[in-house]
Amino acid sequence: MKIFSESHKTVFVVDHCPYMAESCRQHVEFDMLVKNRTQGIIPLAPISKSLWTCSVESSMEYCRIMYDIFPFKKLVNFIVSDSGAHVLNSWTQEDQNLQELMAALAAVGPPNPRADPECCSILHGLVAAVETLCKITEYQHEARTLLMENAERVGNRGRIICITNAKSDSHVRMLEDCVQETIHEHNKLAANSDHFSLSLMQIQKCELVLIHTYAVGEDSLVSDRPKKELSSVLTSEVHSVRAGRHLATKLNILVQQHFDLASTTITNIPMKEEQHANTSANYDVELLHHKDAHVDFLKSGDTHIGGSSREGSFKETITLKWCTPRTNNIELHYCTGAYRISPVDVNSRPSSCLTNFLLNGRSVLLEQPRKSGSKVISHMLSSHGGEIFLHVLSSSRSILEDPPSISEGCGGRVTDYRITVVPLASVIVKESLTEEDVLNCQKTIYNLVDMERKNDPLPISTVGTRGKGPKRDEQYRIMWNELETLVRAHINNSEKHQRVLECLMACRSKPPEEEERKKRGRKREDKEDKSEKAVKDYEQEKSWQDSERLKGILERGKEELAEAEIIKDSPDSPEPPNKKPLVDMDETPPVEKSKGPVSLLSLWSNRINTANSRKHQEFAGRLNSVNNRAELYQHLKEENGMETAENGKASRQ
C-alpha cells in the first residue's frame, strides 16, 4: 500500500486546438417525439458532438468515478492546451470536485475553429503538466512535515493523460520526447531549488498515457502501443481511439486500471414500474469500487488447483443478488472492508433508484449466486452520511467459532454486577474537593441512610442478574462496604476526602432501633421481592441472543418495578413518607463536566436516573393529599366549567 503512488496525481491535458472543434461524426437523436403528438411533425435533425466535447465529457466521467470512490488523496489537475496552456485548477482539496472543473471548462468554452492552427499545440499543455507534477500537494507537504528527517520517503509520482489528435507515429514520438526532456529539466530545477523552496519536488516516476482520438469513419494515423519504459522516470503508452462513445469506453477502462477498480453488478433489484404501480420488474445495476471488495473472489477465482475454480477466470463484472431487506434492525456485521462505490451509469433510472434507496438509510445484503443453491451473503450495500459503501462481509468459516462463553470464564459465575446510584462516586475521585463537593457527598450519604431507613429498594439493574438477588438488607450491607472501599481509596487526596469518610463512618454505626424497624418492614419487602423475582424469571426464559427483545423486556421490567413502587404505597402502609422517585433528582447534581474521566458508573447512573424520572409524573392528587387521601373533583364545587376539560386532559397523561 502506497499513498503516494502514480495515482496520487493525475494531470489531464486536453487538446483545445482548432481541429478539436470538428465533429466526431457520431449522431445523437435528441428530438424524441412523444407519442400522440407526432402527426405531421418532422423531428429535428440529429446533432453530433465535437472531438472536444467527446474528450471533455469522457475525462469528466473519469473524474466523476475517481472522486466518488476516492474523494481524498487522489487529485486531478486539468489543463487545456491551444496557443498556450490553461491550467484550470490546482492540487488543493477544495479544487477537487466536478463542479469546479465544469465551471472552469465552461469559462474556456469550445475550441475556436477559426484560430490559427500554427500557433496552437498540445506541447504547451504537456510542458505545463510536467511543471504541475513537480508542485507539491498538501498531502505530500503534510507527510514530509510529519516525517521530518525522513521526508525523502515521500514519493512524487504522477500520471499525465493527454487527449489529442496526433498526425502520425513520429508526431507521438515527438510528444514523448518533449515530456522526457521537460521532466529532465524540471527535475534538475527542483533538485537545485530544494533548499530554497518547499513547494517543488523531483518527479520520480511519470506515466504518460497518450490518447489519440479521431472522428468515426476516419483512418487512424497513429498505432496503439502498450506501456513502454522510455527512461527510469518516464513510461509511455499510446491508445488510438475513435471519438464518441469509444473514447468514453476507453477512459472508463483506464480509470479502472489506474485506480485498481472492479465492477459488481447487483442483479434482481425489484423496482416499481412507472406505468403499473402494482407490479415490479427486476433490474441490474453495475457499480464500480476498489477491487479489494472482490478479494475473496480473486483469490478463489485464480485458483490454480484443478476443479475448485467455480467462476473460471476473473470476469469483468461480478454478479451479486439483491436480498430484499427486512426491517431496519441494527446489527453489527463482521465486515472486513468497506469501499466507496460509483454507479457506471449514474443517471439511469435503475441506478438512481438503487442509490436513492440506499441514501435514505436502508442497507441491502448481497448474496453470491451459487450453483449448489446454498445461500451465501458476502456483501452489504449501505450509505453513511450520503456516501454509499460496499461492505465485504466475512462468509467463510470463523476461526473463532464455538468460543467459550463469557459466563464460563473469570467472573462469569458472579451474577450481581449491580451498580449503585451515588453521585458521590463521580465527585470523590477528584483530586481536590470544594466545600460544595463535600456537602454534596454528605448529602448523598444522608440520603442513602434515609433510603435504608425507609427500606426503599436500591436501584439495581436486574441486567446480568440470574436467579434471585440478595435480600434488601444484604444489598445495603454490600453497598455500604463498597462505598467505604471507594471513599477509603481516595482519603489520601485531601483533608476534605477525609471528612467524607468521617461522615460515612458516622452514618454506618447505626442505632439499634434500626434493626427493629427492619423487621417490621420485612413483610412489605417480601411482597416486592416476589414481583422482582417474577421479572427476573421472565427474563431467564428468554434467549440471551435477541438483544432487541431483551431490551423490550427490560423496559417492561423497569415499568413493572415502577408499578410495584406505586402499589406499595397503598393506604395501609405505615406512615407514608413524602413519596420520592427512586433517586432524589434534586440532590443529584447534573452531569457536570468533571475534571477526571467520567466513570462508567456515573454514566450509567445518570442514564437510569433520567429514564426513570421520565417514566412517571407524580399524581397531582397524591402530592396534595392529606393523610394519603385526595379529594377528587374539587373544582366542581367552584363555578368554572372550562377547568374541568383542562383537568381531564392533564390527568390522562
Binding site: M1, S50, L105, G109, S308, C335, V346, G464
Partner: protein, 499 residues
C-alpha cells in the same frame, strides 16, 4: 490464525541419528518429538487455535482436518508410516486446497513445514520446481505465494552445516522469498538430539504461539485479558511508514458509542477478549474456562466467582446495544462489543480498525470525539431521538447531486424530454422548466456542446408554433424567451473569440 503442520514422511526421514548411549533415533522421531512439544504448548496456552496435519512424500494426505483436539493430532503423530521420495510442490498445492476450502482466501494461516532438508530427486523435487518456476502458466502456477495471508515456517531436522553442504538451504530460502518473505527457516543448533530439537521448537513457539496478554482498562476498572488470536503487527504504508505497528498491552477504553452509529465498520481483524486470572507472580492461572483437569477445575471455579470487569463490560454493551472504543496505540483504535455465537453463548470481542486519525469517515476524526457532557447541547437530543452520526461529507458524491452525463444518448434524451414535458405545461411548470433548462445549458457550456443549445432552441421555437389557441399567452412568451437565450448562449463564445 489456523495452523497447518506439513510433515515430511519420505524415506529420508528414517535416517538414523546417532545419540550416545541410548536407543537409536530416526529423524522422524525427532520431528515427532518437536511437534509433540508444539501440540502440548497449544493445548495449554493456545487452545483455540485450529490445527490440521498433512503428511507428504510423493503424494500427500490430510491426516487430521482442522481441529482443536490436540489428542487426535498427537495420536496421528504416532501412526505415521514411511513412504517414498519428497515432493514438496504437490504438498504445498495440497495445503492451498485445504486452507481455501476451510477458511477462504482472507484468513491468515501459519504453515509449519517439518522436513529433513532432502528435497527429493527428479520431477517434483524442489530443485526441479524452482528451476521451472519461470516457465509456468496460470494453470500450473507454483503454490507460493500462498493465495491467503500466510507465514511459512520451515523446521529442518538437520543442522546448518548439513544443509549448507548442498544447495538445500538456498532452495528453502527461495521458498520463503517466493512467499513474499513471509516466514522463517529454523535449523537445529549443534548435534541432532532431542534437547536441540526442543530448543528449535521453543523458538518457533516464542515467535508464533505465545499468547497475547493485555490489561483492559476503563477508568478505575481493569481486567487482565488474553487476546486471541494474537493481533499481528500492521504496516500502514510500506513506503512512508515501513515500521509495523504493534498494539498496546494496555488497552484503554476511551468511550462508548451506539451500534447504529458505528454501523458495521470495516475491521482488520477480530479477536476474542478472554479474562484471565493471574496469581501474585503474574503467571496465568487459567482463563477460567472449564476443563477436564480437576485441579484446574477448582481453580477455575474460584476464578469464576471473582467479579471481573470483562463480564460487566460485556453485559453492559450487550444490553445497551453499544460498543466501547478502545485505544490500541497512537492514532489506532478498535472496538469492544458483545458477540453472540449461534448457540446461547456470547462473548467479549475486539475488532481492530485500520490505524490512522480517521478510520471511519462517518465518525470523523477520532480525536474529536468526546463525552456527551462536553457538548453544549446533548447531540442525541433530550429524548435520545437523534444522533450526530453519520457525518456528512463536504462534497456530495455524483449519485447524490444530479450530475449531467450524456455519454449514452439516452442520458441526453431524458434531459431534453424533461424540458419538453415541462414546456408543454407552461406557465404552470415555469419553475421546473427553467430549472431543467438551466441544468442542460450549464452542462452544454461546460462540454462545449453548442449545437445542442441551438437544437433545443429550435425545438422550443417549434413548440411555440404548436401551441393550441387555448394556451395561456405566457406560455408563448416563456418559450420564445428561453429559445432566444439558448441561441445567445450558443453563439457567445464565437463572438468572444472573434473580438
Amino acid at each position: 490464525m489456523p495452523t497447518v503442520v506439513v510433515m515430511d514422511v519420505s524415506l529420508s526421514m528414517t535416517r538414523p541419528v546417532s545419540i550416545e548411549g541410548s536407543e537409536e533415533y530416526q529423524r522422524k522421531h525427532l520431528a515427532a518429538h518437536g511437534l509433540t512439544m508444539l501440540f502440548e504448548h497449544m493445548a495449554t496456552n493456545y487452545k483455540l487455535e485450529f490445527t490440521a496435519l498433512v503428511v507428504f512424500s510423493s503424494l500427500w494426505e490430510l491426516m487430521v482436518p482442522f481441529t482443536r483436539d490436540y489428542n487426535t493430532l498427537q495420536e496421528a503423530l504416532s501412526n505415521m508410516d514411511d513412504y517414498d521420495k519428497t515432493c514438496l510442490e504437490s504438498a504445498l498445492v495440497g495445503v492451498c486446497n485445504i486452507v481455501q476450502q476451510e477458511w477462504g482466501g482472507a484468513i491468515p494461516c501459519q504453515v509449519v513445514l517439518v522436513t529433513d532438508g532432502c528435497l527429493g530427486i527428479g520431477r517434483g523435487s524442489l530443485r526441479h520446481s524452482l528451476a521451472t518456476h519461470n516457465q509456468r502458466s496460470e494453470s500450473n502456477r507454483f503454490p507460493l505465494p500462498f493465495p491467503f495471508p500466510s507465514k511459512l515456517y520451515i523446521m529442518c531436522m538437520a543442522n546448518l552445516e548439513e544443509l549448507q553442504s548442498t544447495d538445500s538451504l538456498d532452495c528453502l530460502e527461495r521458498l520463503i522469498d517466493l512467499n513474499n518473505g513471509e516466514g522463517q527457516i529454523f535449523t537445529i543448533d549443534g548435534p541432532l538430539c532431542l534437547k536441540n530439537v526442543q530448543s528449535m521448537f521453543g523458538k518457533l513457539i516464542d515467535l508464533a504461539y505465545t499468547p497475547f496478554h493485555a490489561i483492559l482498562k476503563c477508568g478505575h476498572l481493569t481486567a487482565d485479558v488474553q487476546v486471541f488470536p494474537r493481533p499481528e503487527p500492521f504496516v500502514v504504508d510500506e513506503e512512508i511508514d515501513p515500521i509495523p505497528k504493534v498494539i498496546n498491552t494496555d488497552l484503554e477504553i476511551v468511550g462508548f458509542i451506539d451500534i447504529a452509529d458505528i454501523s458495521s465498520p470495516p475491521v482488520l481483524s477480530r479477536h476474542l477478549v478472554l479474562p484471565i486470572a493471574l496469581n501474585k507472580e503474574g503467571d496465568e492461572v487459567g482463563t477460567g474456562i472449564t476443563d477436564d483437569n480437576e485441579d484446574e477445575n477448582s481453580a477455575n471455579q474460584i476464578a469464576g466467582k471473582i467479579p471481573n470487569f470483562c463480564v460487566l463490560l460485556h453485559g453492559s454493551l450487550k444490553v445497551e446495544g453499544m460498543v466501547a472504543i478502545v485505544q490500541l496505540g497512537p492514532e489506532w483504535h478498535g472496538m469492544l462489543y458483545s458477540q453472540a455465537d449461534s448457540k446461547k453463548k456470547s462473548n467479549l470481542m475486539m475488532s481492530l480498525f485500520e490505524p490512522g486519525p480517521e478510520p471511519l469517515p462517518w465518525l470523523g476524526k477520532m480525536a474529536q470525539l468526546g463525552p456527551i457532557s462536553d457538548a453544549k447541547e446533548n447531540p442525541y437530543g433530550e429524548d435520545d431521538n437523534k444522533s450526530p452520526f453519520p457525518l456528512q461529507p463536504k462534497n456530495k458524491r455524483s449519485y447524490a447531486q444530479n450530475v449531467t452525463v450524456w455519454i449514452k444518448p439516452s442520458g441526453l434524451q431524458t434531459d431534453v424530454q424533461k424540458i419538453l414535458r415541462n414546456a408543454r405545461k407552461l406557465p404552470e411548470k415555469t419553475q421546473t422548466f427553467y430549472k431543467e433548462l438551466n441544468r442542460l445549458r450549464k452542462a452544454a457550456l461546460a462540454f462545449g456542446f453548442l449545437d445542442l443549445l441551438k437544437g433545443v432552441a429550435d425545438m422550443l421555437e417549434r413548440e411555440c408554433t404548436l401551441l393550441p389557441d387555448t394556451a395561456h399567452p405566457d406560455a408563448a412568451f416563456q418559450l420564445t424567451h428561453a429559445a432566444q437565450q439558448l441561441k445567445l448562449a450558443s453563439t457567445w463564445h464565437l463572438r468572444v473569440c472573434r473580438l
